[in-house]
């Protein structure tokens, strides 16, 4: 099993969710986050004062999936979150040791 974490542009969230649903991903967790990468921040000007905003708002999605689905998931996120401009985000893949469905007590791939 794998845990796929992707940090994407917030307005791309709906497209990514649709793309993941279409290939059979059963659920994802979404968090609003801030950060910086190569896009860096931007400056904001309020009346006379200029402020550098280092951290830009992003959305982090997490999906636990079966290993055989990994390539499709990566491709789906890559395509749906892509704008071609700097700041599109990154995808991180981790090995997942165990999953438990709390309601039924199922474990492993059955719990996904």
């Amino acid at each position: 099993m794998k845990l796929v974490t992707a940090v994407i542009k917030p307005f791309k969230l709906d497209e990514v969710r649709e793309a993941l649903s279409a290939i059979g991903v059963q659920g994802i967790t979404v968090t609003e986050v801030k950060g910086f990468g190569r896009q860096k921040g931007h400056t904001e000007l309020y009346r006379g004062a200029e402020y550098v905003v280092d951290f830009l708002p992003k959305v982090k999605i997490e999906a636990a999936i079966k290993t055989e689905l990994l390539d499709q998931v990566i491709e789906a996120i890559e395509k749906s979150a892509n704008t071609g401009k700097i700041g599109d985000g990154k995808i991180f893949v981790f090995d997942l040791e165990q999953v438990v469905r709390i309601r039924t007590g199922e474990t492993g791939a059955e719990a996904l």
Binding site: E44, Y46, R47, G48, A49, Y51, V52
Partner: protein
């Protein structure tokens, strides 16, 4: 320090001394036509019945009063609140809400009396303490206040309420200058002192006069003029409070920013506004409420109110555009905060001019206000080096001074202005020359700056001595909402 307190006591003494003098004149006024309290006495066997208030005027003035209240709570509170960081939102709202209430109460206790009854050229008397004498329960009679037309009285309570909102909103304006760091108790102490020794005398000096009905003959003109406030006697024009409200508050603000010191992180960290949507709502409601402030200052529902209304409308729109284009040109982008600030700058600048200039004046004053105040919050602010959190000085003092001076220019009938009467008996045009009137305006501005700066400085020092002006550093970092008020604005 002790010397300063003695000075304040001396000021109090001056006020007290003026009381007996007023009592004598009040008796004399009982027999004559007293315009400020031209009591409607239908039972008296008078040859000419006392004039009764016009219902249109009363309706308009009651409406205007409620409009000005809306300018403070919620409009100013939201305008200011949106510009502070979210951890200080409630402290901003709270300060406006409570200072407005505090000053309104003080106004009814002694403020109105010391401002709008006869005394000397600097302070009024104590005849109307606790609004004594405005309503006679035994006879069921209400006292009357003068307007700007002969035989056109207004119930005095309407005038009291209308002017109460002015005093209260003026004190609330100052709050923006030391936002995000002031101790709540110090703010309240400062407000009581500054209201008493700066707002009241300046308002009395600019706005108190015996009213048009007192000018019954050419022979009494000089004697009646002598009863008015100092700046009124000089011929200073201030329709709705360029000096009394905006310069007064703006100067107290910048003095506060200096005395209180900069916020932690000023110039280093991002101290950006937390919700400009609120600021936009606040600015819009200010624009709306300002119609009561300016057009209501005509005190009647008449031509003068119409002129003030249109000028307020137009100058504000001009200032929005000029600030916006100025910012676009010099800073790269037209911002919402800029547009909202432009609106307030235009409103401030047109305030002394509202019913005192024609439409050409409104165009020029509005366009100038947007650009000059844009400079006020940029170049001038850097020059001054104070952390005037929400630019009370850059917008209110700068805009107020600009408006006060340009009122002297555009009051001229040659520039489409209405002029003003030379005396209230003959009612001939009194506008002499632009240079002469601008000089009078400049003197009035100077007196206001001096009075407000000195009083504010002493008042801050007294508040500092009693409770300390600023919250401790860790409280400032954590935010005043939770540390001063035990609440949080947003739970999300």
């Amino acid at each position: 320090m002790i010397r300063k307190i003695l000075m304040l006591l001396a000021l109090c003494g001056t006020v007290a001394l003026s009381v007996p003098a007023y009592a004598d004149e009040a008796k004399a006024a009982d027999t004559a036509t007293a315009p400020a309290e031209a009591a409607a006495t239908p039972a008296a066997p008078a040859a000419t019945p006392a004039p009764v208030p016009n219902k249109g005027d009363v309706s308009w003035m009651l409406t205007s009063t409620a409009f000005v209240l809306l300018m403070s709570v919620p409009a100013l509170a939201l305008f200011y609140g949106g510009m502070v960081r979210s951890k200080n939102m409630l402290s901003m709202l709270m300060q406006v809400f409570v200072v407005f209430s505090l000053i309104s109460v003080l106004w009814c206790v002694y403020g109105y009396s010391l401002t709008f009854t006869e005394g000397n050229a600097y302070f009024g008397g104590l005849d109307r303490l606790f609004l004594n004498g405005t309503f006679d329960a035994a006879k069921g009679e209400f006292s009357m206040a003068a307007t700007f037309s002969k035989a056109t009285p207004l119930p005095e309570l309407v005038y009291v309420a209308f002017q109460a909102t002015f005093a209260a909103v003026t004190c609330c304006l100052i709050l923006g200058a030391f936002a995000e760091r002031a101790k709540f108790s110090a703010v309240l102490i400062f407000m009581v002192l500054w209201f008493t020794f700066s707002y009241i005398p300046v308002a009395h000096m600019v706005w108190f006069w015996p009213g048009p009905d007192a000018y019954t003959a050419a022979s009494v003109v000089d004697a009646q003029n002598a009863k008015a406030g100092l700046l009124w006697q000089w011929g200073a024009l201030d329709f709705a409070g360029g000096t009394v409200v905006h310069i007064n508050a703006g100067i107290a603000g910048i003095v506060g920013a200096y005395v209180m010191g900069k916020r932690i992180g000023f110039g280093k960290e991002a101290l950006s506004p937390h919700n400009l949507t609120m600021t936009m709502i606040g600015a819009s409601l200010l624009w709306f409420g300002w119609f009561g402030f300016n057009a209501g200052s005509a005190l009647e529902a008449n031509n003068s109110a119409a002129l003030a209304f249109m000028n307020t409308y137009l100058a504000t729109a001009c200032a929005v555009l000029s600030w916006m284009f100025g910012e676009w040109l010099f800073k790269g982008k037209p911002s919402m905060l800029g547009a909202a600030s432009g609106a307030v700058a235009g409103l401030v600048a047109i305030t002394p001019a509202a019913g005192n200039v024609g439409i050409p004046g409104a165009f020029v004053i509005g366009l100038a206000a947007g650009l000059v105040c844009l400079w006020g919050v940029n170049g001038l602010k850097k020059l001054l080096g104070a952390d005037d959190t929400l630019d009370v000085f850059g917008v209110h003092a700068v805009g107020g001074i600009l408006g006060a001076l340009l009122t002297g220019v555009f009051n001229s009938p040659s520039l489409g202005g209405p002029g003003f009467p030379n005396n209230w008996f003959e009612m001939k045009p009194g506008f002499e020359s632009i240079a002469a009137q601008v000089w009078i305006q400049a003197k009035a501005v100077g007196v206001t700056i001096l009075c407000s700066a000195v009083v504010a400085f002493i008042a801050y020092k007294i508040a500092d001595l009693i409770v300390g002006l600023r919250v401790p550093e860790d409280q400032e970092r954590e935010g005043l909402d939770i540390t001063s008020h035990g609440e949080t604005a947003y739970h999300m």
